[in-house]
Symmetry: C2
Subunit: 397 residues, 2 copies
């Protein structure tokens, strides 16, 4: 059968055609009025997309680059930091903080789990300079309760910064950056923004900017004070990835369209879309007797346990071979145990139903389980139908 | 929910990304060595795609343009012609032949039906200069038996040409152009070739070329003898739609890839894909208690009757509003009575399952029928699973 290459990975995610076109067409030099206008428009729109009044910077790097920028701009060697870690990306925070010489305290919970607020509160007594956490831990599909965590950190006081890796979280889960007092939040282009990798961004609070002056960690490319000064003049410190800015501009317009002209509402619609795709997928997986891996599952992706004694790599391989659909295996210690289906960004009803239909064939092929065709799909359809009915009732009320 | 604009219309059909990219990138002037090389490669590949040794011409026009070329190059005013008509496109043959002054004899069967070979044989006694027919009648979703019809026409003799509109047929149904003795076969770019409208093509037999010298109908843009002479020199008579040629080149490469490097096998794979999508869709529709409209359903599209007393326009509208999925209403007298879902070209498993899932919600919304979610999908999955099992057994045998 004909195969379309279909990404269901938690980044890179399917590309928005309008972003592809914009990217392909863009040729302007970066030190021109044309690029400056695009750059300024994009930075202003990014504030609305993130939902913050804080300064937003967009850098030519992957998400990890801006994670490093957070560490190198907000901590100095020997600074105490608290890393909340529940998976590969939590571990990345620890690795980064250690690379920059911080004294790292880890609050570590098993993969698939999230943190106890009481434990976080207890650990804050060491008065760390910053707390590092993920909004969603993509390696396990867990959603951390950033609202509650932020409340605990803010109650502790202004000396401790809250840094949130929301690379897969932004655009897939509701986040009130300013209201909750998040000092540094990070996103990437290849996620809910529906464009290729290559840009990563952050929103930085006034508290974080002030804290930066005390920092003595070495930094140059990722020196955010320099980027901030350049941005104020409508430019970047170093050569920007111009065509990706064009794609970003187009993606933001698309999201604005999802909000009937309002970008903030568009972002909420995008989040609701991911949440609905995720809920449909969870219902589908459960209907097939599969176990969900995450104790608090994210809207960004669904991590599903392979049936007992089956290597999840076989599921991933069968998806690829039979449907050219790319789902993700587990990472690190979870490799071979789970598989992950993403809902980040550019997915619709047909994608979601299609991948669940494909999952039924995949399981029929790689397990001995007797699969009732249509059962995962039906469970997802019921979620969809109920959600749409509720939405209509809301509109009519 | 996020909506992707999804065409399920029997042309235009979903675009192949590689064709879009090639089209967007192409800039060469048409009287250059670069374009000449592309043009000659495409014409040679088109012979393999169509499966013919006859001359192939590709013109800048819609399919109707080449239908006109067939009439104006192969008939003169007052010539007797036999038109086999079973829908809107059969009627187009009659309209064209009348416009060029032919004496039109129609063998007309009701919409949804196909022709009796005995009746065709009987009508041939009038010795028409040409017989005009569709391979698939897109207005009704009917597949005409071209192999059998060609046999009847060829038995009648060499004086009668067989002209087949295979605009939706090529790439969706098996056709042996030379083996069956089809004198003039027509296709269009916006169908199984997975590219936008703007090009139409034909393969012309030696018998048809000879017959053209007797023709006195007025023609200029569509004078195929002129195009043939130009093509022999590696160019077109008038300005070609250059970027569409680039798209066509990319589409042919994709189809070659479907045949593991063999274009003829790629075309067979494309046909089998459409046939499988069609079989899945028919099984899905039947599982929902819906009636198929065509007595002999095509691989190109499935025409489904709206439930009793329901305007099919409501189904079309609900598909559009809830899923941004564009399915076709009936045409002419069938408007409001049927809806049509296409399988022409760039469709895969996920598309087919997705649209059937959507159909279940659409029916739940616009009818009083109680819909068992997943039932259409399950029926389609069973077809898919059985076909794949058979294919594997064939490979292993």
């Amino acid at each position: 059968m004909l195969h379309k290459n279909r990404l269901f990975t938690p980044g890179p995610t399917p590309l928005l055609p309008a972003a592809q076109t914009a990217m392909a067409a863009f040729t302007a030099h970066h030190r021109t009025a044309d690029f400056k206008a695009l750059f300024q428009r994009v930075l202003a729109d990014m504030k609305e997309f993130i939902g913050t009044k804080n300064d937003v910077l967009v850098l030519a790097c992957s998400g990890t680059g801006v994670m490093e920028a957070a560490v190198s701009n907000l901590t100095s060697p020997h600074d105490k930091v608290l890393v909340l870690t529940a998976g590969k990306f939590g571990e990345r925070w620890s690795g980064l903080c250690k690379a920059f010489g911080c004294q790292v305290e880890e609050l570590k919970v098993p993969y698939g789990e999230t943190f106890s607020l009481d434990e976080i509160r207890a650990r804050l007594s060491s008065n760390p300079r910053a707390v590092f956490v993920q909004a969603t831990e993509s390696s396990t599909g867990v959603r951390h309760d950033i609202e509650a965590i932020a409340k605990v950190v803010r109650q502790h006081g202004d000396e401790t910064l809250l840094v949130v890796d929301a690379i897969t979280g932004l655009g897939t889960t509701h986040l009130d950056v300013d209201g909750w007092g998040i000092d540094f939040i990070i996103g990437g282009s290849q996620k809910a923004l529906m464009m290729p990798p290559g840009l990563a961004y952050c929103a930085v609070s006034e508290r974080a900017w002030k804290s930066m002056d005390k920092t003595i960690s070495p930094r140059y490319y990722f020196d955010l004070r320099k980027e901030r000064k350049s941005a104020a003049k409508g430019e970047t410190a170093y050569t920007p990835a111009t065509s990706l800015f064009a794609a970003l501009g187009a993606a933001l317009e698309f999201i604005r369209g999802m909000g009937a002209g309002n970008l903030a509402q568009g972002r909420e619609a995008l989040v609701n879309n991911a949440e609905l795709c995720a809920e449909m997928t969870r219902a589908g997986a459960k209907a097939l007797g599969l176990k969900l891996y995450a104790s608090a599952p994210a809207g960004a992706l669904t991590a599903i346990c392979a049936p007992e004694a089956l290597d999840s790599g076989k599921i991933v391989k069968e998806f690829r071979e039979s449907f050219d659909a790319v789902v993700a295996n587990g990472q690190g210690e979870m490799k071979g145990k789970i598989f992950r289906i993403a809902h980040i960004g550019y997915y619709d009803y047909l994608d979601t139903i299609g991948i669940l239909g494909a999952l039924e064939h995949v399981l029929a092929r790689v397990t001995d389980k007797s699969i009732e065709y249509g059962s995962a799909v039906r469970a997802a359809q019921q979620v969809y139908a109920r959600t749409m009915t509720e939405k209509r009732q809301l509109v009519n009320a």
